[in-house]
């Protein structure tokens, strides 16, 4: 009998996951915080993403696509979390509550207020984005926020780079139209007006103020 073989495989699996988690935790956390309105929801997304990754670790692509694979999972988690009939497992519930509490504490200690100007401009852009279909929003965000290339975008979306490029182009066109309506598309000053200070302000802090 191959005594100990299974135990070795388990250890390898643990090690692999720890490495994956430590390497990409901050990116998945960022992905979640940029898309959810409060830390609780963001924590939920992070927890579910890594839970799914753990359960599907056998599917983990090697090489440079690990992060894209995680983004793909996170994208589905975010999409699913918007469904009103979504069922949460108790495991996720407990895990996310514990994680959310810890995360809120950590982010609160790092919170920095934004100036009113930045907040207003961010609001206009967010509004324009919100006016787009979800698919358009996500394509634009994946490129702008996660910094994906066209090929990487295709990997996360599960389509060819060409198809991803076309979807991105169309989404940008629609966003440009929205911004034009809002009178923002020809303001080069926008780029510089946003460069003020630290932008980290956890949604949880906003929640606490309410």
């Amino acid at each position: 009998m191959a005594l100990g073989r299974i135990a070795d495989l388990d250890r390898e699996r643990d090690h692999l996951f720890r490495r994956l988690f430590d390497a990409h935790y901050h990116r998945i956390l960022g992905y979640a915080l940029r898309r959810r309105d409060d830390a609780q929801d963001a924590a939920d997304v992070v927890a579910e993403t890594f839970l799914t990754a753990w359960r599907r670790l056998d599917d983990l692509p090697r090489g440079g696509e690990e992060l894209l694979w995680l983004y793909g999972i996170a994208r589905r988690v975010v999409a699913n979390s918007r469904r009103s009939d979504r069922r949460r497992t108790r495991l996720t519930e407990r895990l996310r509550e514990d994680f959310a509490a810890r995360l809120r504490d950590e982010l609160s200690s790092a919170a920095v207020e934004h100036g009113p100007e930045v907040t207003v401009q961010r609001g206009v852009i967010a509004e324009a984005l919100e006016g787009l279909p979800e698919e358009d929003r996500e394509v634009i965000r994946l490129v702008a926020w996660e910094g994906l290339s066209r090929a990487e975008l295709g990997t996360v979306l599960g389509c060819t780079p060409n198809a991803a490029t076309i979807r991105l182009h169309r989404a940008r066109r629609r966003l440009a139209g929205r911004l034009r309506e809002a009178g923002l598309d020809d303001e080069p000053a926008l780029a510089t007006r946003h460069t003020t200070g630290n932008r980290l302000r956890p949604p949880a802090a906003e929640e606490d103020e309410r």
Binding site: G4, I6, Y25, G30, R55, I125, D185, A191, R199
Partner: protein, 288 residues
């Protein structure tokens, strides 16, 4: 147009509430570490196809009900509990988070709660990789055979092992144990055909610490030795474990289906270190 898109991208980029670079410092933070370890402590399966076989409770009065009916009833109860556990899925984090056990995957009023880490007893490959795991739980000692396939991990086994074995806590030294039941040197099951990916039947059980060798008398009269793991580290009770992969065919017994109520093993023979027989125990009737 491209330049305008570049500017729009830049605007969107700057609209982000937080940048990844600002979050690097949270890698390895208390929240991150707790999440990572909590996730690792969960069962790493996509789907659990566990069909649980439960040993007939030793308190079942002899002759009151047929063994098959008892086993089926118990299995139905445990299967229902497991189904509920899988539906609600899962462990009570923060309670005994450091305990590494696949049993954390169960939840429900009847689910055992691990109080110590899993102890691997034996493993091998019989069509699919399998491993026998013993876990001390709130429902006593649980012993399960787990089968690992590309679709996930399934399990079959039960809890409450060892309560009528010499040396188990609560048992009196010689003849009677807790509740007045007769003590034995060995106990075991006839295995389960719960997973079609396993091409051989794997049987297992526990024995008193003094048991050094175990022979199995098969239904066709052949005798084969079992592997004995003497009192493994991590198991509090002074128990040893035994297991065996049965031959592909045992005359007179259909081992091809998933039916659990077949008895390819007729008798367990427990021997001490000198080879003397401590007990011969028939296993194809209620209470072994």
């Amino acid at each position: 147009m491209t330049q305008r898109f570049g500017e729009i991208d830049d605007m969107v980029r700057r609209s982000a509430v937080v940048l990844d670079e600002e979050l690097i410092r949270f890698t390895g933070s208390s929240a991150a570490s707790a999440l990572r370890e909590a996730v690792i402590a969960t069962p790493p399966t996509r789907t659990r196809r566990a069909a649980i076989e439960v040993r007939p409770p030793s308190s079942t009065p002899r002759g009151r009900s047929p063994r098959r009916a008892g086993v089926r009833r118990a299995r139905r109860i445990v299967l229902a509990a497991l189904a509920l556990a899988l539906l609600l899925a899962l462990p009570a984090f923060g309670v005994v988070q450091h305990v590494r056990s696949w049993i954390w995957g169960w939840k429900g009023p009847d689910a055992p709660v691990p109080i110590a880490a899993d102890v691997p007893i034996a493993s091998g490959i019989a069509g699919s990789p399998w491993t026998i795991v013993a876990t001390q739980t709130t429902q006593g000692l649980c012993v399960y055979i787990r089968v690992h396939t590309s679709e996930g991990t399934g399990g079959s086994g039960g809890c409450g092992w060892g309560t009528d074995i010499y040396g188990s806590p609560g048992a009196t030294p010689h003849e009677y144990g807790a509740g007045g039941q007769v003590l034995h040197w060995i106990e075991g099951t006839n295995g389960s055909g719960f997973d079609a990916s396993v091409d051989r039947r794997i049987v297992h059980g526990v024995a008193a610490e003094q048991v050094a060798a175990v022979d199995l008398v098969l239904a066709d009269g052949r005798v084969m030795p079992a592997d004995v793991v003497p009192h493994p580290a991590g198991i509090d009770a002074p128990l040893s474990f035994w297991s065996a992969v049965l031959p592909a065919e045992v005359a007179g017994v259909d081992l091809t289906g998933a039916e659990d109520d077949v008895t390819p093993v007729h008798e367990l023979i427990a021997r001490d270190a000198d080879g003397s027989v401590l007990e011969r125990r028939v296993v194809d009737r209620p209470n072994g």
